[in-house]
């Protein structure tokens, strides 16, 4: 059905048509890209990750405190203070404290007293969190900053 004569006759039209369709497709893609970008939230309605936990003298050596709302354990030893996140590294449940360490109720991950994995599906140890001293004398835990396991905060 298509002869060479017909091809040359409509060649220009085809160029116009193809470029139109291509341009249309690119334009639509840009719109879709913008729309997809739109769906990503720019801001989160979450409390600040940094929080004050009190003054150092509130944590005499030997203290073990679980701050439920902040999802963190605070330990105080003679050598210093440290904070361990209570969020299980497996799928985010909250671990509970046992005699030997921590236990996650959801899928049975087990950690030892300083957060190292000793059983279950957890891929890595419970993170230690940064502790610093605020100007006003309060201790500040920053849950967004992980420190190396074993890093003590010296008073």
């Amino acid at each position: 059905m298509s002869s060479t004569g017909e091809k040359t006759e409509i060649g220009r039209r085809d160029f116009l048509g193809v470029s139109a369709i291509v341009a249309g497709a690119i334009a639509m893609l840009s719109v879709v890209a913008g729309a997809l970008r739109l769906t990503k939230s720019n801001v989160y309605y979450e409390q600040s990750q940094k929080f004050k936990i009190g003054r150092p003298e509130n944590f005499p050596a030997g203290t073990k405190v679980k701050l439920d709302e902040k999802k963190v354990f605070i330990f105080s030893e003679n050598s210093g203070l440290y904070a361990i996140s209570s969020i299980c590294t497996h799928l985010g449940c909250i671990v509970s404290q046992t005699d030997s360490g921590f236990l996650c109720p959801c899928h049975g991950s087990r950690y030892d007293g300083i957060g190292n994995v000793v059983g279950g599906p957890a891929p890595r140890a419970l993170p230690w969190l940064e502790i610093s001293l605020h100007e006003d004398g309060n201790l500040v835990v920053d849950a967004s900053k992980e420190v190396k396991s074993g890093t003590m905060f010296l008073i």
């Binding site: 085809d14 048509g17 139109a20 341009a23 690119i26 719109v31 801001v43």
Partner: protein, 462 residues
């Protein structure tokens, strides 16, 4: 193999679409706050001296952020432009890069308080115009609070006692003005006060539309309205009968105080208010708080064009000479129906009997030592009809034909009915010095005692 017309249409439309989508995308990627943050980063880096600080500056990431305070149910995005509020290195830079002045942020960390709890404005917004909410076209009820009124925000959590010790002079003086200019004489606040004006509870957090802005000059905001209203009440509300006129400085201070009367209470963990000790106020203070707006010093008897009546001079010795404390107390307690004088007892204006007694004894201080000689008045002999005839010719000019008042006081109310006959008789006979009420007795305008009794029996029947 397409039609030329539609293919060209498609091509042109696609190019237009692409162009404008790109334009919109670029616009989205370069919002107003980004330029501020970039400049901040540069300044931060320049100002940093230690390598540690330099590193921190270099690590600063440009991007939108927000302070979300769940307890206050607030989202503030002010720090997208006011980037350096917590950075001591920015103390000398220009706004918006500058560090917050004073040491407020030390006790009020931004992460706990945010900005708009004190400064107002639209915390959600991410551009200057809408964040400051200046101008009606931003459609936000609470434009940013001018710094001169900023102390009005302190009372949300602190009481006056605390503020007076920490240099919040403006609001302290504002409160003093509020108490001394007799604002509560017409405006109720927390259940205490008169009824002529609007109640003031929560007035500081009323939206802009609550205030008629038609005659306000300059910025159409709550502070401007309040200030101009205090400088000249009838400028912003032509039909206002408010009597107080303040100097611009006083008006500013009072505005600050009024703006502090808000309905919105921060949650308890934020508040530092201890129960304020209730200081018993003396008669003078109470007089200033409730009476002074209308009666001023109590010595001037003038016809008031706003209230459309004469405000009696209650400290006029000529009045006190004839009126005993019991009578004055009755007037204060019951008010005078048909006049702006409202009832001040606990159930209507929130004043205790004790407070009223204090006010009365303060007013009575002006009473001279000599009291007038008692006279015997027998109302049973009064002839109402004869009294009416005299009243209509002699009294109605000032007191109105039905006793409704005018230049003279309103006589058609329960106080006159309950008033002591001697008091009325002496007032009519002797007149009241320093007021237009002339002595009608035989030594003055020639009414006989019997005629006066007739008049009294007539006015008691109104």
């Amino acid at each position: 193999m397409q039609s030329r017309f539609y293919a060209s249409l498609l091509l042109i439309s696609a190019l237009i679409l692409l162009a404008f989508v790109s334009y919109a995308g670029l616009r989205e990627l370069n919002p107003e706050w980004k330029t501020y943050q970039k400049e901040y980063k540069r300044l931060f880096f320049n100002n940093a001296v230690t390598p540690d600080m330099k590193k921190k500056a270099a690590e600063y990431t440009v991007g939108i952020r927000q302070i979300y305070i769940k307890d206050l149910n607030r989202v503030d995005r002010c720090d997208n432009c006011h980037v350096g509020v917590e950075n001591p290195l920015m103390a000398k830079e220009k706004v918006p890069y500058r560090q917050h002045s004073g040491t407020y942020l030390k006790d009020h960390p931004v992460t706990k308080f945010g900005c708009t709890i004190c400064h107002l404005g639209q915390g959600n917004a991410t551009n200057k115009k809408e964040a400051h909410a200046e101008g009606h076209d931003t459609y936000w009820d609470y434009p940013i609070l001018p710094l001169k009124h900023i102390q009005s925000s302190c009372t949300q959590c602190h009481n006056m006692d605390f503020l007076s010790k920490h240099g919040a002079d403006v609001i302290i003086e504002g409160e003093k003005l509020f108490n001394e200019k007799g604002c509560k004489g017409c405006h109720k606040l927390s259940g205490n006060g008169g009824v002529l004006g609007k109640a003031l509870d929560g007035v500081g957090s009323q939206p802009i539309h609550y205030f008629p802005m038609r005659y306000v000059e300059g910025e159409r905001t709550q502070p401007s309205w309040l200030k101009q209203h205090f400088e000249d009440p009838r400028k912003v509300v032509p039909e206002s009968v408010m009597k107080v006129k303040l100097t611009p400085e006083e008006a500013d201070k009072l505005t600050t105080y009024i703006l502090s009367i808000r309905t919105y209470d921060p949650p308890k963990i934020y508040r530092r208010i201890n129960e304020e000790p209730i200081v018993a106020k003396d008669g003078h203070a109470l007089y200033n708080m409730y009476c002074v707006a209308c009666h001023e010093d109590g010595k001037l008897s003038a016809f008031d064009e706003n209230l459309k009546g004469t405000i009696p001079a209650i400290e006029n010795p000529a009045f006190l000479m004839n009126a005993d404390d019991r009578f004055i107390e009755m007037v204060v307690k019951e008010g005078r129906k048909g006049t702006p004088m409202t009832s001040w007892q606990l159930s209507s204006a929130g004043l205790t009997d004790e407070e009223i007694k204090k006010i009365v004894s303060y007013v009575a201080l002006q009473r001279g030592h000599e009291s007038s000689k008692p006279v015997s008045v027998n109302l049973k002999t009064g002839d109402k009809d004869a009294g009416k005839e005299i009243f209509n010719v002699r009294c109605a000019l000032c007191h109105g034909e039905k006793g409704q008042g005018g230049l003279g006081l309103n006589l058609a109310n329960q106080i006159i009915k309950k008033a002591d006959d001697q008091y009325l008789f002496k007032t009519i006979r002797d007149g009241r010095a320093t007021t237009p009420m002339p002595p009608f007795g035989s030594t003055g305008l020639g009414l006989t005692d019997q005629q006066i009794v007739n008049v009294i029996s007539y006015i008691k029947a109104f």
